[in-house]
Assembly symmetry: C2
Homo-oligomer: 141 residues x 2
DNA sequence: GCTACAATCTCTAGCGACTAGAGGAGCAAG
DNA sequence: CTTGCTCCTCTAGTCGCTAGAGATTGTAGC
């Protein structure tokens, strides 16, 4: 197995699309790799690991800025991982509040749909609810 | 109470920012209003209602395309509201699947954080988990 | 060596739903 | 009359990519 590959090889190994890899380079998640004489990017297995890390963090919903920080931290093995923990907790908090918000929306929309009597639009409870916020269970959205 | 107002008045009455109102006009959610001689937009109470409808639907997470459809339907009171019902159900489905996905992420991130022993990054379970997808509970994210 | 064709390069623009800012004109109050 | 607010249009930025144009490089078959 060759441990040096072009961008297409890296793409196949990680499942990350070629333009996305270039994008990650442009935003500083991946370092600019060596190039061939013909100006093509050459990657080694370290790049594979790093890209898998990025990909996995993205799948878990971490934002690019957070991933940049995580990558920096990962390169300083002797440091305390308190910062890493904090970043993860921050992310967890963001996920939790998104879930809460969506759940509240779900309740409202479900209520709207249940009220629908499948009649004419003139009497449509859904249209009506959308027109009048005060019909909502919660005012805070 | 004057029933004709400039864009700032409409903004104050609905809580929608001025540039957002102009944006809604540009994407066809609000019709182009009459103008004064000095080229300023003039709105009436119908615009207030329509904007409140838009705003409320947005707060409930409906996308602009769906809102455009809902507004068209709302203008045809004699039609059956089956389409409205379908749009709402579609939206509910989207909310539900977003919640499911986020809940799965939450479980993973919580697991990661719990595994953290607050030591050095070299042994950090969070960094480790991010590096190795196979440590995850579910493979499908 | 020559010819296809695939892979890669850079650059620009698009998505959705706004938001921010520049630079200029209109308008009411002091 | 001038200050200061509101309004106008236009452009560009946000986020994380994705799609495409047009040019170049590399490779496989003949």
């Amino acid at each position: 197995m060759s441990d040096v590959m072009a961008i297409g090889g890296l793409s196949r190994k990680t499942g990350v699309k070629v333009p996305t890899i270039r994008y990650y380079e442009s935003v500083g998640l991946l370092p600019a790799p060596h190039r061939t004489e013909g100006n093509r990017r050459l990657y080694d297995t370290k790049a594979v690991d790093r890209l898998r890390f990025i990909r996995h963090a993205r799948e878990l919903g971490f934002e690019v800025d957070a991933i940049r920080e995580l990558l920096n931290l990962a390169e300083q093995p002797q440091r305390s991982c308190a910062k890493v923990d904090a970043l993860a907790r921050e992310h967890l908090q963001a996920i939790t509040s998104r879930i809460e918000r969506l759940t509240a929306l779900k309740v409202e929309v479900e209520g709207m749909i249940k009220a629908c009597t499948k009649g004419r639009i003139a009497k449509c409870r859904i249209i009506d609810t959308l027109s009048h916020h005060e019909h909502c269970l919660h005012r805070e959205h």
